[in-house]
């Protein structure tokens, strides 16, 4: 049978084209000069350059983390170019000014820009390599006081907000990759929802890595003031290259009293080929701070790509009664490796968190869940529920669960459930005996397995995610 399963997992990557656009690329290598160059190109204020330099100096003293359950050759940080901007680099006022080549790329990617964006009611901030190319819907959002723009723009237009919140959730020296990002980040999205405003549409960013040997270091900052709410979607793809590319992003979310932030990701970076050649190294720090009382931050991720994923979207539940959620599907195939999970840090009283993690491994891949639930002495009445399920397809893949539970308040309640299952020959035969071929059978089983997570995604994203998992596994059974 295993050939059946094998073929199903062997599905060519569909976004593996390179767009032929001239790019303004910085020379390879990292030094204080590189950072000054980036900061200079972006015309940044002094305080931001200082923040970058301080991050860089801390990074120099740090060690690359060895604890994740992933293996890769040592990264040569001097062989990476830290800045790549599509030329011409002038600011674009409307979609008509965008390079048509770029638009075709977006079309191939299925990015809902232009009219499609409007029809879909999605405001898209597109990050292409490192510079934000166009932001749609800005005006409409501005009417209700929402700021949605690239972070570079925000640095100039809203410096007081950026300065107040940037690095407030993920300090510049937080960890190795976060420090690197803080030193060299080139662009990303900024989103500010003022007091009492419910964002009238889903906000969306589409990330894509185009140039070989450039690292992508975006920085996203979302702030929801008292009583505000927003749903944010992030989608990612990258073209195929034989070399590995580094992606080290930082995402910070801040929710004040009664605010609600929902952050959804469908990640489909290039994962390398069936022999493990190429693919993205995805080392990302995502963290949300439930700063105010009754606030809520919810992470939903569907991780299907990248050669290596190292990612733990977390919630710091500082406000009393605040709520953190993490819903995750991570699929690995071929030689992909994923070490992903979450951290729920309970500080406030009666804080609650929910973790639902679904890991699917196929091929020779390795999929680990790593999650921390920490209940601080101050978190009286805190509750956590965690459920971590793994599914194996075939005989050569692996799944691990590493739960870390630290309870320092006796009134807290923490529950953890875990399971491992396998798509077996007998299940596929049962489907076949009812007329249903292996691909459809696997897709139905996988969708059933992921149901609790897909339910959390906005409708169009859920449909996408379902299709994506099907594609990723297509051809592995036959």
């Amino acid at each position: 049978m295993s050939t059946v399963l094998q073929d199903l997992v062997n599905q060519p990557y569909q976004h593996g084209f390179v767009t032929d656009i001239e790019a303004d690329v910085a020379p390879k290598g990292l030094s204080e000069d590189t950072i000054r160059l980036i900061s200079g190109k972006k015309n940044e204020p002094e305080w931001l350059l200082e923040l970058r330099l301080s991050a860089y100096r801390q990074w120099l003293k740090m060690e690359e983390p060895q604890w994740p359950n992933v293996k890769y050759p040592k990264i040569d940080f001097q062989a990476i170019s830290y800045y790549s901007a599509p030329k011409p680099k002038k600011t674009l006022g409307s979609m008509n000014e965008v390079d048509p080549e770029l638009l075709r790329t977006f079309e191939k990617l299925g990015v809902p820009m232009n009219e499609r964006a409007k029809l879909a009611g999605v405001a898209v901030d597109v990050i292409f390599d490192s510079v934000s190319v166009a932001t749609t819907y800005k005006a409409k959002l501005a009417e209700v006081g929402i700021i949605f723009c690239s972070i570079s723009e925000a640095v100039h237009e809203h410096p007081e907000l950026v300065r107040k919140y940037l690095g407030s959730v993920v300090p510049v020296g937080d960890n190795y990759y976060a420090a690197l990002n803080s030193a060299v980040f080139t662009d990303g999205s900024f989103c500010f929802i003022p007091r009492g405003v419910k964002c009238p549409m889903d906000l969306s960013t589409y990330f894509r890595i185009n140039t070989e040997n450039t690292g992508q270091f975006e920085r996203t900052l979302i702030v929801a003031e008292e009583g505000a709410s927003v749903s944010y979607l992030e989608g990612c793809t990258a073209p195929k290259f034989d070399t590995n590319q580094l992606h080290a992003a930082v995402v910070e979310l801040v929710a004040l009293d009664d605010a609600d932030i929902k952050y959804s990701t469908v990640q489909n970076w290039y994962a390398g080929d069936e022999n493990g050649l190429g693919g993205i190294y995805n080392f990302v720090t995502k963290r949300g701070l439930c700063k105010g009382v009754n606030s809520r931050i919810s992470w939903t991720q569907v991780e299907t790509g990248s050669a290596i994923t190292w990612k733990y979207p977390s919630c710091v539940l500082r406000g009393d009664n605040s709520v953190g959620e993490f819903y995750s599907v991570a699929l690995t195939n071929h030689y992909q490796q994923a070490d992903t999970g979450t951290k729920m840090i309970h500080l406030g009283k009666n804080t609650r968190s929910t973790i639902v993690s679904k890991g699917i491994s196929a091929g020779h891949s390795n999929n680990s869940y790593r999650g921390l639930v920490r209940i601080a002495p101050t978190a009286a009445g805190a509750r956590n529920y965690s459920q971590c399920d793994s599914m194996l397809i075939g005989e050569r893949c692996g799944a691990n669960t590493f739960p870390y539970i630290q309870v320092n308040n006796p009134s807290a309640k923490v529950e953890h459930e875990a399971s491992t299952s396998k798509i077996g020959e007998d299940q596929l035969f049962y489907f076949a005996q009812r007329g249903v071929g292996a691909e459809e059978a696997v897709s139905m089983i996988i969708n059933g397995f992921c149901k609790d997570v897909f339910q959390q995604l906005p409708m169009e994203f859920a449909v996408e995610a379902t299709k994506l998992l099907g594609l990723k596994l297509e051809g592995s059974v036959g």
Binding site: E425, Q427, F429, Y430, Q433, G435, V436, E440, I445, G448
Partner: protein, 264 residues
Amino acid sequence: MIYQDSKTLLAVRGLHATVNGIEILKGLDLTVKSGEVHAIMGPNGSGKSTFAKVLAGHPAYAVSGGAVVFEGGNLFELKPEARARAGVFLGFQYPIEIPGVANSQFLRLAYNTVQAGRGKDELDPLEFDDFVREKMKLLEMNPDFLDRSVNEGFSGGEKKRNEILQMALLEPKLAILDETDSGLDIDALRIVAGGVNQLANKDNAIVLVTHYQRLLNYIVPDYVHVMDAGRIVKTGGKELALELEARGYDWVGAEVKANAGVNA
């Protein structure tokens, strides 16, 4: 029922099959015509389930000799799913659990796939819901079973009913029901057997694998076969089942050996 002019649905000739390199079927012969009901009996381990799975195309079983013709074509040229669409149905002795997949979803996918394979109309979820509820009434099944995961946490008897529900939906040409009666209480047996009888007609055929006469009181076989060590060693009418019930299987084996001696 035996009809004068019915055509041969299934012809099994000298079938040999192995699992994990061990030969289990050792020259099995069987002919089934449309309209007929056959019962296959025989001791545990004689290869009844193996035979059923070989016909359905389970990948763990390898055919090592012989031939099977289904509706005039070589059955082994069809993949398992194509056999199902062509009308071969296996009621599993141990139905498989599929956690996370709603029974209703599974049933509809199976139904639509088989319908499409036969060039017939598919049903959308609402239409299918009405359709499947009607079929469930026949089997006195609680509609709650639609929302549960396929076979997960079903009792033995509930699983068997779910099998017959699938048979009712897929309307097979050839239904092989592997110990569908085990695990059923008396009432359930009557209901399930009633369901099977309603589905039987002159264009299809049913092969019942069973250990017990009590099922055959409800579904009356035209032929009763005794299987031993991978072959059908004796065939008779419905009275053979009564004899087996009274005397066990040993005498059949002895008779076969004696005959073999005569022929040698």
